[in-house]
């Protein structure tokens, strides 16, 4: 059974993608995630300058999920370009990336996630990255707990539009807008993104949340406010994917995907592929193989020939 999917100019061997922020800094570890079965990996959110992130605690377990405020720790775009160059990403054109044998043995399909606060920042990063044989960009317009970036950008559709147009002007690679539950209508931002040149959206990022400890009377995260991820947000994420698909937006589902059934549900709702983050905390890297094996069995049982046939079925009812 072939699990490969193709959408928005992206073709990957299976629909499970490592979500941004999880293990996505070092090439060697991203390669390991890919070897464990992921169809592609998204890097941590990369910014123009390096960021150390917040002091601990940066993550707290809550019922059926985590609340995190890592603070977008990342080595900065220059270091990241170096990291990938070391592994040959600056050697050939992106076309070669479509050669599966190369992926398997050497360069894996990486989507670089970018975070910034202005058109200039995004464009300058893309210019520095675009010669690398990465398979696309994901724009973090939805981090709920860092000032001036993430949601503060995503909540401004006009700015979103300018950023994406700016990037579109300097790259031909797919652009994916990563959205969250902000203070403006997600559907509006999604449509703006697509109209401005984005190829797809990822939904959803973590949802602004916090944890307080009754004994010390304190917020637990050093940043006080963080983002909720994991199974807790799954029904919300699933609804977002359903609504985006209904609005005709190509979407990658993300939020609380822990097993093949979750992945299938997101695809039934309209996701072309899914991203997995928090589940890794509980199931480690085995989660990718488990999900893919489960999808395979599901397709067989339902006499479906490809993942594509699953996409959006729930809308028939």
């Amino acid at each position: 059974m072939d699990l490969s999917v193709e959408f928005a100019g992206i073709r990957i061997r299976n629909p499970t993608i490592l979500a941004s922020g999880i293990l996505g800094i070092s090439y060697e570890v991203m390669k390991r995630v890919y070897d464990a079965g992921a169809g592609a990996v998204v890097s941590k959110s990369i910014s123009v300058e390096p960021r150390e992130g917040y002091k601990g605690p940066i993550i707290v377990k809550v019922d059926s999920g985590y609340v995190n405020a890592v603070g977008l720790a990342n080595p900065g775009v220059d270091h990241f370009v170096q990291e990938l160059s070391k592994y040959g990403y600056d050697k050939e054109s992106t076309d070669t990336m479509q050669d599966k044998s190369i992926h398997d043995n050497y360069r894996i399909p990486i989507v670089v996630n970018l975070v910034g606060s202005s058109v200039d920042e995004f464009v300058s990063m893309v210019k520095r990255l675009d010669h690398l044989s990465i398979i696309g960009y994901e724009l973090n317009l939805s981090c709920p707990h860092v000032e001036r970036v993430g949601l503060e950008v995503g909540d401004d559709p006009e700015l979103v539009s300018r950023i994406i147009k700016g990037i579109r002007a300097v790259t031909s690679k797919p652009i994916i807008a990563k959205l969250g539950l902000g203070a403006v209508d997600m559907l509006e931002v999604a449509k703006t993104a697509i109209d401005s040149g984005a190829s797809a959206v990822t939904a959803i990022n973590t949802i602004r949340a916090m944890v307080i400890d009754a004994e010390t009377c304190m917020p637990v995260l050093s940043n006080k406010i963080g983002g909720l991820s994991g199974r807790a947000i799954k029904p919300i994420a699933l609804r977002c994917v359903y609504e985006l698909h209904r609005a005709g937006v190509p979407v990658i589902g993300c939020g609380g995907i822990y097993d093949w059934r979750d992945a299938v549900e997101f695809m039934l709702a309209g996701a072309h592929a899914v991203q997995i983050g928090s589940a890794i905390g509980d199931r480690w890297l085995d989660v990718f193989k488990e999900v893919n094996d489960g999808i395979k069995e599901y397709l067989a049982r339902k006499s479906l020939k490809s993942v594509k046939e699953v996409v959006g079925i729930a809308h028939r009812y």
Binding site: I25, P57, I58, V60, D63, N74, T216, G281
Partner: protein
């Protein structure tokens, strides 16, 4: 947050504990003792994520309760930078948060084993020593290194744990106590001596400063022995999500902190590079 509703949360749930006693081990090292079932059952080499309210959350090896009480555990911390100093300054009655224990532990070996530790790196080795002392047919030689006499910690405890069958060798860099020289020098001498006598060691366990461990692993490699080392990297989440603890292809909080010598040496970063808080690879 601290409810029992979702029992599956298990060790990931943050537990608040009261520091019941603080002991000075040396002018810069203290042990904080508390009650915590999960920590008390940690395997040797596993670590806790320790919340110091208003300050930080940092990884710490689980120390044995000096009184050996069921349900008790401890942390031994060296006063160093911002966070470790804050932990060091906690006193009786202070509240800290714990999650874990996390990570891969040392695995037991049979026969003739050597432990090489320095500073707070002794912590997991002491727990290991206790575990090994419960099995028969094990002989432990425990090499404890420190800079000088007043930094020697846990000597008595180590002597108690290795038992009559075992041996504790204290080394100081300046010779102010015990053997003068590095713990690694002592290791080399021991191995040399053993090989000249046709004796054999079955396993070397090490934890301490990276430079020390690098020497230890190279020596062990020379002699064709097996070894396990407990490494350190920045650990912000402890559960394989945040990416801060990567070393080579390994995610240390999941694949470690204890790793086999073979895997450690195969990954060129050890002893040479580490990722800083932003994820940049920097020389160590």
């Amino acid at each position: 947050m601290l409810t029992d509703t979702d029992s599956s949360m298990g060790k990931d749930r943050m537990r608040l504990v009261r520091v019941e006693e603080v002991r000075d081990e040396s002018p810069t090292v203290r042990t904080l003792i508390f009650k915590d079932d999960l920590a008390s059952e940690a395997r040797a080499g596993q670590f806790l994520m320790v919340w110091i309210p208003r300050v930080d959350e940092i990884p710490m090896s689980v120390m044995l309760d000096p009184y050996d009480r069921a349900g008790y555990a401890a942390l031994t911390v060296r006063r160093h930078g911002y966070s470790s100093t804050a932990l060091y300054n906690m006193h009786e009655g202070s509240t800290i948060g714990l999650r874990g224990p996390y990570g891969r532990a040392f695995t037991a070996s049979n026969g003739n084993v050597i432990l090489v530790g320095g500073g707070t790196g002794l912590v997991p080795l002491l727990r290991l020593c206790k575990m090994l002392s419960n099995s028969t047919g094990i002989r432990v030689t425990f090499i404890m290194g420190s800079r000088s006499k007043d930094e020697v910690i846990f000597e008595d405890l180590a002597r108690r744990l290795v038992g009559n069958n075992g041996k504790v060798i204290v080394c100081t860099d300046d010779g102010s106590y015990g053997f003068k020289g590095y713990a690694s020098d002592m290791l080399k001498a021991l191995l040399e001596d053993a090989s000249s006598k046709g004796e054999r060691f079955d396993m070397v366990y090490t934890c301490g400063p990276e430079a020390m461990m690098l020497k230890v692993l190279k020596i062990v490699d020379e002699y064709g022995l097996e070894a396990q080392a407990s490494l350190e990297r920045i650990m912000k989440c402890g559960i394989g999500l945040c990416s801060s603890c990567c070393i080579g292809r390994y995610v240390l909080c999941k694949d470690g902190p204890v790793m086999d010598a073979r895997d450690i040496l195969a990954c060129n970063e050890f002893g040479a590079y580490a990722r800083d808080k932003s994820g940049r690879l920097v020389r160590v």
